[in-house]
Symmetry: C2
Subunit: 179 residues, 2 copies
DNA sequence: CACTGTCGGTTCGTTCACTGAACCGATTCG
DNA sequence: CGAATCGGTTCAGTGAACGAACCGACAGTG
């Protein structure tokens, strides 16, 4: 969505949130960032998003303080986009959407989320089903489910086939090993 | 967002959810429906949405089983759009977005959500801060906050100035009493 | 009866955002 | 030297959103 003037008239915190993250692709970029994707090219191949749109979303999210642009190499200059605390705070919303997608939009058991401390499933309210405590995003482990494609053809999807703690950087295979 | 072919390639329940409710305006229509808005004209004046877009969203949401079109008057034929169980299941996602909007998108205390049974605030994980139990959407009361405009000029916003239990139909003033 | 207003839309021309392909500069690898 | 990687920008074409106008069926008023 391209909102601005339209949603701005709405006196509603949901509308305010959607002004920032409601545009097409934006929440999926944040999802990837929380999954540990940090580099332009990884977002690109994983999302299948037009380059111009990705550039725009990364810039906007950085301006909004949801991502942070960080130089990780000087020659040639390369930046990575790391999710900030403000961005990680979107996790409850993403988790709730994920749950709804599983139960009401025909997405089966593609991935599940577990409590890193005890291995318990994370229930409908974001708490651990085993120990009952609310689970902060950094303590969540994403576990691939049985209905996930076992041989995807982009390196990011392949890297996400292994269980992975959220927020930690994703390590993709070097390009020369690609399919 | 108009997704379909694009997000469909994504193996992710978040993407599946956004295929259904990720388009511009859609989540705000669902929010209003959960707030008790049911009639075409009430959505129209409250959202300030173009008529063609509203018609499209109501049709799509009805096809998806998120709203249900229900005849409430025969002459002239009038239908209302009532949120279904599947639609109400989006409440956790909307609540999480609302919370994020309050804390990270500059929306102050516009509205708060309380547990109808005990009056406790609903915390970050959708549970009641007082009694600790998860609160189903039907037991949530929306309470207007101090930063809300006290004299809005559309009847739906005025009706929402009073505390209101979610899902229950919103009663707007008759048109001839308008501003 | 004529007039006005309500309700729930549809139609249409304009504007705006997304799309996909091409291109680019700096650098590294073989 | 030539090819590939990385992180973009530019640009023409398309599709969606926007806003205003219009419309049919009916209710209420005088």
């Amino acid at each position: 969505m391209a909102l601005g003037k339209d949603y701005a008239t709405q006196e509603c915190s949901i509308a305010r949130a959607l002004e920032v993250v409601g545009e097409r692709w934006t929440l999926l970029v944040v999802r990837d960032a929380i999954y540990g994707v940090r580099r332009y090219n990884d977002f690109l191949v994983h999302l299948g998003i037009p380059r111009a749109v990705l550039s725009d979303r990364l810039r906007t999210l950085t301006e909004q303080g949801i991502l942070e642009k960080r130089r990780y190499q000087e020659a040639p200059p390369r930046d990575e986009y790391v999710v900030t605390e403000r961005g990680a705070a979107l996790w409850p919303a993403l988790r709730a959407l994920s749950q709804w997608g599983r139960e009401h939009a025909g997405a089966g058991r593609l991935r599940s989320f577990r409590h890193a401390d005890c291995g318990g499933d994370i229930g409908p309210y974001g708490t651990c089903a085993d120990c009952g405590t609310p689970v902060p995003v950094a303590d969540v482990v994403m576990v691939p489910g049985p209905e996930l494609d076992t041989a995807p053809n982009d390196p990011v999807s392949r890297a996400l086939l292994r269980p992975k703690r959220l927020l930690e950087p994703l390590e993709t295979e070097p390009a020369h090993l690609a399919h």
